[in-house]
């Protein structure tokens, strides 16, 4: 089965991160995820976007839906290196992503966050 891919690019402004958040929650609810899981995805996507914000003019997001995974990538998301005080929020953001998603992988390009869909799909099947 070919996976479904959504792409979203938003201007890099604090005001617009809520657009990405809302889009993520709409896609997640289409996959039959629970309200809790949708909230988790919303906050993790926001954390990634907030992290990328000052590093780029436009924030590039992809949502890939495979049979059993939702894979969200956000470009220009970095692990903080120096440990000054201003880094505290960034650390919290990364801690939140790592705690709430099933897999989080950082690369040169940005971050990849994976949520397993098994439960969600079961729920959707039950409904049908």
């Amino acid at each position: 089965m070919k996976s479904d891919v959504f792409k979203l690019t938003i201007p890099s402004k604090p005001d617009y991160i809520s657009v990405a958040r809302l889009t993520s929650s709409c896609i997640s609810s289409k996959l039959g995820l629970s309200i809790d899981e949708i909230e988790d995805i919303k906050v993790c996507l926001s954390e990634a976007c907030t992290n990328a914000l000052e590093r780029t003019d436009e924030i590039n997001i992809t949502f890939e839906v495979t049979k059993d995974q939702l894979i969200i990538t956000v470009d220009d998301v970095l692990l903080p290196e120096n440990d000054d005080e201003k880094m505290e929020e960034i650390h919290f953001g990364i801690l939140i992503m790592k705690s709430l998603m099933d897999e989080v992988n950082f690369s040169e390009k940005g971050v990849e966050m994976i949520k397993y869909l098994e439960d969600g799909l079961h729920e959707k099947e039950k409904e049908l």
Binding site: P14, D15, I17, S18, R21, D36, E39, D40, K42, V43, S46, E47, T50, L53, E88, E89, I90, F92, G93, L95, I96, S99, L100
Partner: protein, 105 residues
């Protein structure tokens, strides 16, 4: 509006009662910081955050709360947080900020 903030001083109990209504994120958290700073600038006291109508909060909101705590902790004042939704409450556990703020069930 994405965020509406109600702040009132509770004379009987001597604390600032803060009710954020809506979403606290990187766009709205500066406003939250400004409003609370102004309040505790007028009068140093404990702060009680009522999270009943707080629909969303992320690391920027946590950072904001820490910044506010720093303004009042010299006087031994604390930040109490109550009525948090489970999804937001979870973020305090993840970041271990449940030990920094007084989270009331």
């Amino acid at each position: 509006m994405a965020l509406d903030i109600k702040i009132n001083f509770d004379e009987d109990n001597n604390y600032w009662l803060v009710k954020p209504i809506g979403e606290v994120d990187i766009y709205t958290s500066p406003e939250l910081k400004d409003k609370i700073s102004q309040a505790v600038g007028d009068k140093k006291a404990d702060i009680v955050i009522d999270g009943k109508e707080l629909e969303y909060l992320d690391s920027t909101g946590l950072g904001t709360l820490i910044g506010i705590l720093k303004m009042i902790k010299d006087n031994n004042h604390k930040i109490y947080i109550r009525n948090l939704r489970a999804n937001i409450r979870k973020l305090f556990d993840i970041t271990e900020l449940d030990k920094v703020f007084v989270i009331e069930e």
